[in-house]
Amino acid sequence: MAQTTPGLASTSPSSSDPASEGGASPYAEQQVARAALHRAEPAWLVDRRAEGARAFAATAMPTTALRPWRYTDVSTLSIEEHAPVPPTLRVEAELPAGAYAGPLAEALDSHADVVRAQLGSLVAGTEGRFIAANTALWNAGVLVHLPRGAVCEQPIIIDLSVDAQAGDGATDGAPAALLPRLLVVVEAQAQATIVVRLRSTDAPLLVPAVAEIIAGDHATVRLLLDGRWGERTREFTTLRSRVGQGATVEVATLAIGGRVVKQTLESLLLGEGAHSDLRGVALGDGEQHFDFVTLQDHVAPRTTSKVEIKAALAGASRSVYYGLTRVEETAAGAAAEQENRNLLLSGHAKADSDPVLEILTSEVIRCGHAATVGPVDRDALFYLQSRGLDDRTALQLLVAGFFQSVARRISLEGLEEDLAAVVHDKLAVADLS
């Protein structure tokens, strides 16, 4: 097994070149089109997928020379070696009239216009190799659509998982790939809260994911990505939001499981007064590798954004944060804050932080960022120890407290307790040396 960034090398036992299998690779254009036709997808989508397959063939794997990939070396990862497997997808929602939340495949008929107009409108299939793979082969698609003024009071729950058999070698020994695609269209004045629960077994799994969020004027979209992958899952997600006038998009991500979680999370603040709120929590142990690349692009006047990413890292886990807040010349009156805090819980954990600001106009209210890296506060630890708590218990409490600001902000019922329990369980066995 090749050694570059630990664990990123392909876990495939045999490194057979799929190209040598006479174009039988599911990633080849012909196969992609054939599969799409087999599913009786509309012609435009077959074309879109074929285009994705062509982009996939024409695009090289990103190298660490590219800034967003500096700390995540995927040079030895071969996407083609991963056979797409059917996911288990369940959507639970109590929807207002006219709203839809369900499989994208079914929406192709029922919501043909919305899907055709919006799918791929924010994330082009040609943007990169993982995105191209997803464009060609997405197999776990979900559409959430709220028409103008529709308010969904209860969270829409999307459960997405891959069962044990599929990951365990049902695919002729090849490791599995899951290709989720999320399209959220919340029209003017509509509101929705979406929780995406991502689960997998401990079998090798590659997850190239794409999510697009379109928030109309004065709409509110809240999305929680709750990633509790199995220990050999590698996730590469691109999520992009378009935020309309006076609209709010809040995205929160919990990176708890998985071997590699690399998420590119972007907000395009195109409407006047648009607001983007991005929160993230990463809890690492062992060889876990988290990489967050964020963009808050302030295009319209009086747009605001807030980014808060917190990582607590045990074992030899690593967190990378590369966040760009850009205030364009046209964004007079913008305000933006970025915060990245890293707690190193062991001697081998690492954190890299690069909160970038590009401010192209003086007409800003305030733009700032802060980043810290360090161990838990010694005084706090000492205090807890003086109360008779052992080191591990004290750390469990301190880390749960560290995450609390994010958990409270997300304000989903039960999340704070749930996260505290996760912290407790994970740190009960984590390597804190």
């Binding site: 001697g347 954190a351 690069d354 590009e358 003086s362 305030r366 733009c367 890296v373």
Partner: protein, 472 residues
């Protein structure tokens, strides 16, 4: 009266601050570069063979290198025409340039700075001599008594070859980046300083005193070795707009700060607005040593300069104070790098930048803490002030932390000139322009106060000049 036009590329004759050596035939290289030219420069300077080899290898590296991929203004870098640059020019006609030929805007600036006539002429490259010669020699004598070596780099190489060879290119290898490679191939001028153990150099050493005899170069190379327990403050004086028809300045500075020593290196850069200022500065600080960079960037078209400190042994401390002011059409891409290699090392970076008109300032930093550098701490603080609607400010503060037992913090803020601050001052009868100057001066004060007094005064004046007409 000639219109003031900082962007004008009027020609006042050839570059004036070439290598000074009366025994060699006068020489000015053709524009453009070649390995033969590099060898010729070395031969003309009578350099030892190792230096010739160093230059030639560096030149080959230069040919292989391309511009850094992370450059903030790649289009500006791409505009540099390496074939049109004179890489080596000796004073051939120092007296033939007339003060009258110096563009009006340069003279105007000199007048406003209150620079003495003789000095003005020298700085403009039109003066035959600047009469600090005596001062310079007096200082030289005092230093010599203490065993301090303060020479031009070329002379340093000739007289202290072994010491130079031991350190030259060790902190900034030729392959470090494209411009360091170019400098390594064609360097000329710069300072060589050695401070013996325990010696405290009480007066700041200023390149200023030296430039009239040794001359400055576009590709100067400075090496400073502060031996154990010594102290030195070096001031690189580009205190007035230096008129240059050539548009590329690419220096390399290497500083070795040994155990318990302390070095402060102060630069006030005020190149004219047609100069690319692409400089590599790096220091290594050993046990309990202190290295401080005070770096002010006011002039140039594009500056890319990130003074670095490598904290090599326990207890070492590094400090970078960076000030940048970008006016119309300027891009100040400055910042600093600190690399914590050893335990209990500390560092502080403070950056203040001001952008006005279409000016752009970028803070670009790296803070690296290697595994094993336990007990280290660092703070990075960047503040940017934007004066005009079209001004731009960027902050690229990369932090890489591979060690748990450290305390690392970074904070940045970007704001515009506060309307309430202006309003308050104006309500006290101060004009808007004066008020803006006062706010900016207050903003940069934490850095300015670290400068020797005469530089602080000049810097304030420079900022006032930059601010002229900035309001309304």
């Amino acid at each position: 009266m000639t219109t003031v036009n900082p962007g004008a590329r009027s020609v006042v004759g050839e570059y004036k601050w070439g290598f000074h050596d009366d025994e060699k035939p006068l020489f000015m290289a053709e524009a453009g570069h070649s390995e033969a030219l590099v060898r010729e420069i070395s031969a003309l300077k009578n350099e030892p063979e190792w230096m010739t080899e160093f230059r030639v290898n560096a030149y080959r590296t230069f040919l292989e290198k391309s511009d850094p991929t992370w450059a903030g203004s790649p289009e500006l870098l791409a505009a540099i025409d390496f074939d049109k640059i004179h890489y080596y020019v000796r004073a051939t006609d120092r007296d033939s340039t007339n003060w009258d030929d110096v563009p009006e805007y340069i003279k105007d600036t000199f007048d406003k700075l209150g620079i003495p006539e003789a000095e003005k002429q020298f700085l403009a490259g039109a003066g035959a001599q600047y009469d600090s010669e005596v001062v310079y020699h007096n200082i030289r004598e005092d230093l010599a008594k203490q065993g301090v070596i303060f020479l031009g780099m070329d002379q340093g190489l000739a007289e202290h070859g072994d010491l130079v060879r031991e350190h030259f290119g060790t902190l900034v290898p030729a392959a470090d980046n494209r411009f360091a490679a170019l400098n390594s191939a064609v360097w000329s001028g710069g300072s060589f300083i050695y401070v013996p153990p325990g010696v405290h150099v009480e007066v700041p050493l200023q390149a200023y005193f030296r430039i009239n005899t040794e001359s400055m170069g576009q590709f100067e190379r400075t090496l400073i070795i502060a031996d154990e327990g010594s102290y030195l403050h070096y001031v690189e004086g580009c205190t007035a707009p230096i008129y240059s028809t050539d548009s590329l300045h690419s220096a390399v500075v290497e500083i070795v700060v040994k155990k318990n020593a302390r070095v402060r290196y102060t630069t006030i850069q005020n190149w004219s607005n047609n100069v690319y200022n692409l400089v590599t500065k790096r220091a290594a600080a050993y046990e309990n040593a202190v290295m401080e960079w005070v770096d002010g960037n006011i002039g140039s078209k594009l500056t890319m300069k990130y003074p670095s400190v490598y904290l090599m042994e326990p207890g070492a401390h590094g400090e970078i104070l960076s000030l940048a002011f970008a006016g119309d059409g300027q891009h100040q891409d400055a910042g600093g790098k600190v690399v914590h290699v050893a335990p209990r090392t500390t560092s502080a970076v403070v950056s203040k930048s001001v952008s006005r008109g279409s000016g752009r300032t970028s803070y670009r930093g790296l803070l690296k803490v290697h595994e094993g550098a336990e007990g280290s701490s660092s703070t990075v603080r960047c503040d940017a002030l934007l004066l005009d609607e079209h001004s731009r400010s960027d902050t690229y503060p990369t932090m890489e932390v591979d060690e748990e037992r450290v305390n690392i913090g970074h904070e940045a803020s970007v704001s515009k000139l506060g309307e309430d601050q202006l309003f308050y001052l104006m309500s006290r009868g101060i004009t808007e322009e004066e008020a803006a100057k006062m706010v900016v001066n207050g903003f940069v004060e934490p850095i300015v106060k670290e400068l020797p007094m005469e530089y602080a005064i000049e810097l304030n004046r420079l900022i006032e000049l930059q601010m002229e007409g900035s309001v309304g």
